[in-house]
Symmetry: C3
Amino acid sequence: MKRIRIITKQKQEYIDITEIIRDYAKEEFKDSSGIVTLFVPHTTSGVFINEGYDNDVVKDINKVLNRIVEKIPFDHIEGNSDAHSKSVLTGNSIQVIVENGELMLGRWQSIFFAEFDGPRERELWIKAIKD
Amino acid sequence: MKRIRIITKQKQEYIDITEIIRDYAKEEFKDSSGIVTLFVPHTTSGVFINEGYDNDVVKDINKVLNRIVEKIPFDHIEGNSDAHSKSVLTGNSIQVIVENGELMLGRWQSIFFAEFDGPRERELWIKAIKD
Amino acid sequence: MKRIRIITKQKQEYIDITEIIRDYAKEEFKDSSGIVTLFVPHTTSGVFINEGYDNDVVKDINKVLNRIVEKIPFDHIEGNSDAHSKSVLTGNSIQVIVENGELMLGRWQSIFFAEFDGPRERELWIKAIKD
């Protein structure tokens, strides 16, 4: 298992980690194939795949997530239940196929680490399962 | 990795792909066991598992997803941020257990490929990891 | 594949199953490493990871899910499309990394089985994939 360190600077932030994962896959798999699992060990963060070409897409996804938690009378005393809920809705683990060392993503896909209650020092855990 | 071609005909469409995945598992695993990963390489599509017996269930899930993105002032110039957001909320990869070549699903479960910005020509990528 | 039996007693219930999964990982992996896949074979249940320390977090997540499905005119005759939708939004499978028999979770993370249309007798399916 490999740990990647991620520093977020804003309250809500989406960081494109595609190249980090692509490099990991090349180094770890070389010419072999399998699956990479990405796991977020935090409860106010998430990881998901979507369009990374136009930055407005991620901003729009953020608007949707903000709308979902708007004006809900939360009980949790730390005041960040909006962030916990967004973490559940986006999910905290994904799998990506690797073929001959190449991370298999669609043309418009990027992998995003999302922090919903930053700024924070975070980790992303990566695990390779080979054929 | 196997690529399956999926043609959608409507703007929003949910296609039951259970039998395709079941056949793939039988052929690929034979008498062996493991995990099948399904991966959608598009950013306005998703894949999920839910009831496939009464078609109204999927129509109702579609109503929920439409409500979530209703009247949000999106910035993305292509005008399909509703579809990108739904893709993130449903997710674009799932895992299903295979035992002795049999795809292990609950009695009422079907696997759906969802397109939120069709009609489109799409692919679903499948990867088998054996014990 | 191992089947775990879960009995829910309320309409909506979140059961912390972390220790069950931790024990399973220790027994199944011993000193080896890999990935554990958890799969819910039901269509009104889900499985997710979030904070398990303050019980208010899960209650707040429940509020968010209830708000999402509020006042939607559902068609499905059984009247539980709210629960089907919540199952899709939380997801019905997750992966957790195992290192030397230890289930790798972040400090505040717990694994929850969620039933959205109980009370019910349920199962959770677990599958180990070793390195």
